[in-house]
Every structure is written in C-alpha cells, then in structure tokens.
Symmetry: C2
Amino acid sequence: MKDLINIAVDAMGGENSPYKVIKGIKIHNNISNNIFYNIFGNKKLIEPIINKLNISNSCYKIIHTDNAIKDTDSPLAAAKKGKDTSMWLSIESLKNKESDAIVSAGNTGALFVIAKLNLKMIEQIDKPALSALWPNKNGMNVVLDLGANVECSEKNLVDFSLMGSALHKSLFENEDPKVALLNIGSEELKGNNTIKNTFQILNEKKNSLFEFKGYIEGNQIMKGDVNVIVTDGFTGNVALKTAEGTANFITSELKLALNSTLLGKLSSLLNLKNLKNFKNKLDPRLYNGAILLGLDKPVIKSHGSTDEIGFANSLKVCEKIIKSNLIDKIKKNIN
Amino acid sequence: MKDLINIAVDAMGGENSPYKVIKGIKIHNNISNNIFYNIFGNKKLIEPIINKLNISNSCYKIIHTDNAIKDTDSPLAAAKKGKDTSMWLSIESLKNKESDAIVSAGNTGALFVIAKLNLKMIEQIDKPALSALWPNKNGMNVVLDLGANVECSEKNLVDFSLMGSALHKSLFENEDPKVALLNIGSEELKGNNTIKNTFQILNEKKNSLFEFKGYIEGNQIMKGDVNVIVTDGFTGNVALKTAEGTANFITSELKLALNSTLLGKLSSLLNLKNLKNFKNKLDPRLYNGAILLGLDKPVIKSHGSTDEIGFANSLKVCEKIIKSNLIDKIKKNIN
C-alpha cells in the first residue's frame, strides 16, 4: 500500500480553477501510476468536471469545503480565514500524514504562511526558500530563493546551497550539482558582505554533495556552466521576473517582425514547425512548479496563471520529488 | 566659439581599441556638427587609423600618452597608475575645462574611481549612479543604479529618481518622466525597509519633474508604463545582465530552430528582411552608453566589447547630454 503516493491538491487556487486543476490531474493521471489525489475544494464545482473528464474514482477523493483563499487576500488575512479553506485543509493533510506532498496554484504568500504554521522546519534550517527550474543551454538550473526571504544571512545562503543541490539531484539524478552565487562580478572582492562571507564558507566547505563554482553574473545564468544558483529572495525574484519580461518582449517583437509583410507571413508558415519547436522549448509551462524548500514535507507552488498543462507539470515535479526522497536527501545534506 | 562642443575621448579602453574608437569618431563626425574631439592615447597607434579614415584635422587633437589602464587593473591599482594614462588625462581635461564631457570604453571601476577623484559631486548628491538606456514597448527606459553602489539609502534612491528623470528629459524631451521603484510586488507592503521608506518619500513629494508610479516588478520593466526605473546597484546590475543573458539565450535558440532544416533555412532567407528588422530593433549597440550621474561633468561609459557603431552611439548620447544641459537640469531638479 505504501507504494501509493498521495498528493494533496488545492483545487481552488489560481486563474481558471478548479477546471485547470482537475484537467491537470487528468493529464498527469494518464502518464503516471500509483498516484492518489486528495482533492480539496468545492465539490459542486469539481464533480461535474471530473465526470466530464471521466477520471476513475479509484484514484481520487474529494474533500469538500465551501471556502477558499483569494489571490487578493494578504497572507495574514488568509491565515486567519484559514482552517476551512481548501489551501489550509490540503496542507493540514500533510501534517496528518494523509498526503505526502501538496500542490497549489493559489496565493503564494498565503501558501507560505499556512505551510509554515502547519508544518515543521527541517532541523537546522532557519528559513524556507522558494526554488524553481530555469532553463540553461545544457539543461536546467535550480534557482533559489525566488522571493520567500527579502533579506538573507550567510547561514541562509549556505542552507540554500545544500537544499538546492538536493533538489537538483532529486530531479536530475544523472547530473552533478554545481553551485554558484549570483553576484555583480566574478572577482572575489565584488558584492556585499553577506555574499563575500558566503563565498568564503562555501569555498572552504569540503563536501561531496556539490561543486562550488564561485560567483556568476546575471548574464551567465543561462550559460549552463552551473546548475544550482543561490541568491537572496529579493534579487532572485527580480532576476526571474526580468527574464520572464525579456522573453515576452522578444517573442512579441519577433511575432510583429515576422508578420509585418505578406512574404514574411508566408515564409513563417513554411517555417512553422521550426518556430513551433522554438516556442515549445521556451514554453514556461514546462518549468512550472516552484518548490518551497526547508519544510519537512514537499510544498509545490504552481504558477497562478498557468493552464492545465502547466498544472500537470507541477504534479510531475511533485511526483518526482516524492519518489526521489527529496526531504531525506536534504536532511542528509545538512548533516 | 562656445557653440563648439569638446568631447574628451579615451582612445585606449575596451576591446579592439583604438581602432573602434577612432572609427566611432569618424561615424559620429559624419552626422554631427560643431564637435571637437580631444583624443587621449598612443599617437603611434591612433594616427595611422585617422589618416586611413581621412578624418579632417580641424575637428580633433591627439594628446599623446604611452600608458593606459588595463581591463584587468583593480580600480585602486588603476587610480595609483593614474596620472599619465589616457583615462586619467581625459577626465582631467574636464576638470581643466578643456572638455565638456568624456567617453571611455575602458575599465568601469577605474573610470568610476578616477572620475570621483578628479571631479566634484553635484551639491546635495551623496553617491553617483550608473544609468543606462533599456528598451520598452513604447520607447526607452532610463534605469539606475546599475552597479556603482552595492547598497543604497532612501536618500540615494530619491536622488536617483531626480537624476534619472533629468536624464530622461534630456534624451527624450517630448516625453514626461514616469518614475517607478523596482520591487518584488506591487503592493505597498512588499520589499525591504529602504524601498518602503523611499516609496513613502516619493509618494508625498509634490513635484513637477516626474510622475511617481509606485512599484514595478521585473516583468514590467519592458512594458512601457514607466520610463525611469530606480533601484540599488546590486539589483539593477543583476536585472540588466539577466535581461542580456535571456536575450542572448533566446536569439541563439531561435537561430538554431530556424536553421535546423533545409526548408527552415530557405524560408528564413525569404524572411531575411523581417528578421533583420527584428535583430536591429534589439541591437544592444543602439543603447550603448551608460552615464555616471551625480558628478558635475558628464562621464559616459561605452560597453567595452562594443564595436565602432556602438562607440559612435555613445558619442551621440554624449552630444545629446551636453546640448540639453543635463547637469543644469539635475541641479534644478535637486533644488
């Protein structure tokens, strides 16, 4: 029986929910085995979708609640609203050992606070960090923190290195984690004191978990020389969103340029398959699923504005994390 | 006589200098009037290029020196090496009122330190900031600070708003400066204390110089709703370089995709003009020329790795700044 993985799914968070959540479950269920979904949310909204999509009732249970956290709720207001919302109940089911991990596309701040209220921290970790996947030329980076902590100490950044390496190893078992600190120059003298001290600590730390590659600058994130990028939550959040904005800007300029003449439109049609491959490779839905690291259970945040394909991918990330024993790996890295 | 603008040019900095510098002067000279170039550097290297390019000797003077700052020199080592290098002498010519502004493609840290040693700060400004142009959907942003100051106070960020607005008005006189603070959320509660305090100050400051639009996140930088983006030097540097890296990643992926099949190659040929327009619009050489704001003379930094076209564009930025009386505008904004 313990081969079965129980995923708690908050069905009510993010745009176009619960539809995209249930459709995401359907997509994930088609490609996975031994997954049981504990679906938290409004039964009256969820059941018709499940019936329409014809999801086998042997692989899910609906835990009904009328209440949900809104995207506009402040984290504190959300926590107070709390105990009978789909987000709270789904996290609580981890505490009660009814689920192994949770996925939500809801309010990030609320998820963060409610998870911290309900779950234990991993011993010796002071602050949880939000981490996500970010493509590079050779594969995939894990980048953290992406906004959970506006300010971070040396200890926090060292912890992020350990947790990020464990996550990378969990997701890409054939690759060796290579850690870098995000900075504004590659020389040892650059940056603020926290970063310089972290450099010293990581440089002297002998370990077999990851290779420490020193500093990288923003333009090297996607080069593929490293695959675990550590930074404070303020810088990480700005970097990730700036990359997102730049990608959107460029692809919309490209669209404009390619469609600006009839000849352009025709030749783009000829090139459709290649352009589609290009688009697919950069599709943010493929990288959907940020992981809150540092708690003793896996908490996965899907992008609020993603669709069913994106949500299915965050379920895939969730499955991989449980199967590869991420939390145990982190604990081992810490000790 | 005072209609003539004197630009001090450090001919020895950056890749492929002095060739690209002199060729840049040639390009700029062809489209400008009343500019006189004080060229600092090695006469033996500079003269043959000038002769080959046939630049009229009525528009330049070479001030010979054997010595130059290297890209690998630390700022302090550069300052010590100092007084007979092309960078030092060209900045000194501003102090001596022989030049109105300086352009260099050399070592950024050295330029920063040598400029601070030789030039006065504008009254009431505590720290100079490095600012640059960054395209958005509707035109061009001024973004600062991009790395001169790792840590910034509220006072610094408010000063950056005033200086950045003056710069935007100087370069784009028909547009009204709209200032935003780069943050990790758009709600008032987000961010660190310095940012929150700066928000309060700017929100209460009544002024006719710029409109304060509150916070923006990284993915809104290129949206075009604002045009002066204020941040500390650490965050600004990471954001700018991350955008650069993302743009490089996407365009190289696009190239790969378009050339992956024969049909693709052929249709790309058909689409050559459109793809070229696209490339031109994103050409970083068009935005070349970062401005060190806060000193009482204009100091312009060209990208070290740019070519003659990029260097010519930084001369254009320089000319525009002098003609629009940027420094006076900043002083007026401060008072």
